[in-house]
């Protein structure tokens, strides 16, 4: 969304159907606290006695009810996606004694399979934290961060599949294949892609999958639309989701840790505070006419980040620094975020947080 200078709310509001607009306006007038909805975003992983099918159009997949996951254009660091607005992917998951399998389905009018000069294939990726579990900090959603690597499975429309790892933007590195297989079929305006991997896979930069032990595994997704020349950071990505293995027995504290925090602020006040507190000088977000590129873009901050992450970024910005060019300074051998910690009352912090969470 692009803001019209002088208008308090971006012009596209006018494009929203009137019923929705009324709801939005109501929400603006009568702010309601965003409540913690623990594991609302979890994806059930169905137990299967037989091996999950690699065929994306197999009946066992199509009859399973999918979870719908929102994916947002990547706008945190350049090069940023040119597409605008959220889209969704449908995710189904199964596991057997030996294998875990994910089925991704998303709309794409025109499949692009070939990679050539100026041509980019459609693609999809599954991102895992290399380390997760009780007490572990989730990696930054965009390719992890220094000290918190992510493992990736990457499928492209040309049929290739790769095992990769990264610890921040620009650090993506191919790994020895960990046995991940992928097959994609485009049919009736949709890509259907299945990823499978043996539960046990050796290697340093791997996701360890032990369903019985923890039962809950964070995962995130990304898609690339080749027709729009999407590649690299030009993509759509989801927030961290949680895979809930059917027979897993996660402990309550860990489940709570993965749940969303309560946000009790007033988003409309938060929007005003974005100017008062100087956020507008560095961050672009809908309604900020300057659209600066000094800090990460925030246009879909609420869609791709957890409340806990955004809260930490407000109060302790140097804890996890978005690994983008010029986002930090080196001081005494330590990286310090260019962003000063938020100064203000807790209520103001909550208002800003509520506003950020509403950006999706």
């Amino acid at each position: 969304m692009k803001a019209q200078p002088g208008h308090p709310w971006p012009a596209p509001l006018a494009l929203i159907p009137s019923a929705k607009r009324v709801c939005l306006l109501l929400a603006m007038l009568f702010p309601v606290a965003v409540h913690a909805v623990e594991s609302a975003s979890s994806i059930p992983v169905k137990w299967s006695a037989s091996e999950p099918a690699l065929d994306p159009l197999h009946a066992v997949w199509l009859k399973q009810t999918p979870a719908t996951i929102a994916v947002y254009p990547q706008v945190s660091v350049p090069p940023t996606a040119a597409t605008v607005g959220a889209a969704t992917i449908k995710v189904r998951a199964q596991y057997s004694a030996r294998t875990v399998a994910l089925h991704l389905e998303w709309n794409d009018d025109k499949p692009v399979r070939e990679r050539s000069v100026g041509a980019f294939a459609d693609g999809a990726a599954v991102q895992w934290p290399v380390r997760y579990g009780p007490g572990a900090v989730l990696p930054y959603i965009g390719m992890g961060h220094d000290g918190a690597p992510v493992a990736l499975w990457f499928w492209r429309g040309d049929g290739s599949v790769e095992t990769l790892a990264a610890a921040g933007f620009g650090t993506l590195t191919a790994q020895v294949p960990d046995g991940v297989k992928a097959r994609g079929i485009w049919k009736d305006g949709k890509w259907h892609v299945v990823f499978t991997r043996p539960l046990a896979a050796a290697g340093e930069q791997r996701v360890t999958l032990a369903p019985a032990k923890l039962g809950l595994v964070p995962v995130a997704f990304a898609t690339w639309n080749g027709e729009a020349a999407e590649r690299n950071g030009l993509k759509r990505l989801s927030a961290w989701q949680v895979l809930r293995f059917e027979k897993g027995k996660p402990d309550a504290a860990y489940a709570k840790q993965l749940g969303e925090v309560a946000v009790a602020g007033d988003a409309e006040r938060g929007k005003r505070l974005m100017s008062e507190k100087g956020c507008v000088a560095c961050h672009s977000f809908p309604g900020n006419p300057a659209q600066p590129r000094i800090g990460p873009g925030l246009s879909y901050a609420g869609g791709i980040h957890s409340g806990a992450y955004l809260l930490e970024s407000l109060t302790q910005p140097s804890n996890v620094i978005v690994p983008g060019k010029g986002y930090f300074l080196a001081q005494e051998g330590k990286k310090v975020s260019l962003m000063p910690p938020l100064v203000g009352a807790d209520a103001e912090r909550d208002d800003i947080l509520a506003y950020l969470m509403s950006l999706r």
Binding site: P78, V117, G118, T171, L172, T173, A174
Partner: protein, 385 residues
């Protein structure tokens, strides 16, 4: 900025457009494995669209504020011109059952109609007879001091060598995003559709490290190419660029600080309507200024006056340099510099180095090795940064 900077000077007054440099480069580096369409070195006619077509209007480089300007990726068929095959089998084999077309029996023609090529508008030029004009512009990667490709790569896969400023793409880090292809205002980075990675002129660094000039310069029959280090006051490049100031960068306004320099071309004088020679040159100054910047008239004046001196049998260091009586004097490289760097030991003789035999690896296993490279990268690093 690198410690030293290799540079090339090309005297456009001497280029005859023979494409020997192009052939030298192509047979050395780009005649196989997805590189067939690439011309790391090409010679184009100006005025003309160049190669890839209209590269001067394709964006990229930096704006005045130092921000990357958006650029476009040329089209394989319409801008680069993909290599095409001829219907030899159909047209030239008397036993083949070629289908007669509307215009008689099958004749030799391209299988697919070509849309463009590296010398598509060769020798067309501009102007009306008898004042028509054109000149040749050989181009390669400028190994810029401020490369737009380096700035555009989100993976830091492109780097400028510390020792001599050669710009290279790390083939193990490149993931074929092609941001560099769009960002280079000279369109001298090419995507390899077979290996799915970008590639470019490497200034023949394996030759440079043996004290030899790049293949394009070595093979140049017109003796237009000088190669050396900008900081080497004894070298021909330094003399032309810094001392005589007759070598100018191409499109300096792109903001990348290119390190290939050109001595702008003088041209014959125009005829007026009565067929009398005027004192106006056929190539308009404005056209050359657009390419090589505001110093063009000044440089042309220097060339004229030094040329006259030489005609009057007076000594002219500049003309002697540009004439290049001895080809080897056009190159001043530094073998010892690289040998010292390589083993910290005193320099060996050039022939010692040249006799070193590199074992020939069968093409099959080379391809396999390339395919396994990414795996190897994961293997040895373990680390991801």
């Amino acid at each position: 900025m690198s410690k030293r900077q290799l540079a090339m000077v090309m005297d456009l007054n001497k280029c005859i457009g023979c494409q020997t440099c192009t052939s030298a480069c192509k047979t050395q580096w780009t005649n196989r494995n997805g590189r067939d369409y690439m011309y790391w070195n090409n010679v184009e006619t100006h005025p003309g669209n160049g190669y890839p077509r209209k590269w001067q209007e394709s964006g990229g480089g930096f704006d005045a504020a130092g921000t990357l300007r958006p650029g476009r990726i040329p089209d394989l068929n319409q801008d680069y011109g993909a290599p095409f095959d001829m219907n030899y089998q159909e047209a030239l084999n008397p036993w083949a059952k070629g289908k007669p077309g509307a215009d008689g029996p099958p004749h030799l023609q391209p299988v697919q109609a070509p849309q463009h090529g590296p010398n598509w508008d060769e020798d067309q030029g501009a102007g009306e007879y008898p004042n028509s004009y054109y000149f040749y512009l050989p181009r390669l990667c400028n190994h810029c001091t401020n490369p737009a490709c380096v700035a555009a790569c989100p993976r830091k896969a492109i780097y400028k060598r510390e020792e001599d400023g050669i710009v290279l793409i790390d083939q193990e880090r490149c993931r074929g995003y092609q941001h560099c292809v769009a960002a280079c205002p000279y369109k001298k980075i090419y995507f390899n559709p077979l290996y799915k990675r970008s590639e470019k002129c490497i200034f023949c660094f394996p030759r440079i490290e043996q004290g030899l000039p790049p293949a394009c310069a070595q093979q140049c029959v017109g003796r237009i190419r000088f190669v050396g280090y900008l900081d080497d006051a004894e070298g021909p490049v330094h003399k032309l660029v810094e001392k005589w100031k007759v070598a100018l960068p191409l499109h300096a306004e792109f903001g990348t600080q290119p390190n290939v320099y050109y001595v702008p071309p003088l041209s014959p004088f125009k005829y007026d309507a009565q067929g009398r020679l005027t004192d106006e040159r056929r190539i308009p100054d404005a056209f050359l200024v657009n390419l090589f910047g505001p110093r063009v008239p000044e440089v042309l004046k220097t060339l004229e006056s030094e040329r006259e001196k030489k005609q009057r049998k007076q000594p002219s260091e500049l003309m002697d340099l540009l004439i290049a009586y001895r080809h080897e004097e056009m190159f001043k490289l530094d073998l010892a510099y690289y040998q010292k760097k390589a083993d910290g030991a005193p320099a060996k003789s050039a022939t010692d180095k040249l006799r070193h035999v590199i074992p020939i690896v069968p093409a099959e296993s080379l391809e396999e090795r390339l395919e396994n490279r990414e795996v190897a990268a994961g293997n040895h690093s373990g680390e991801t940064t």
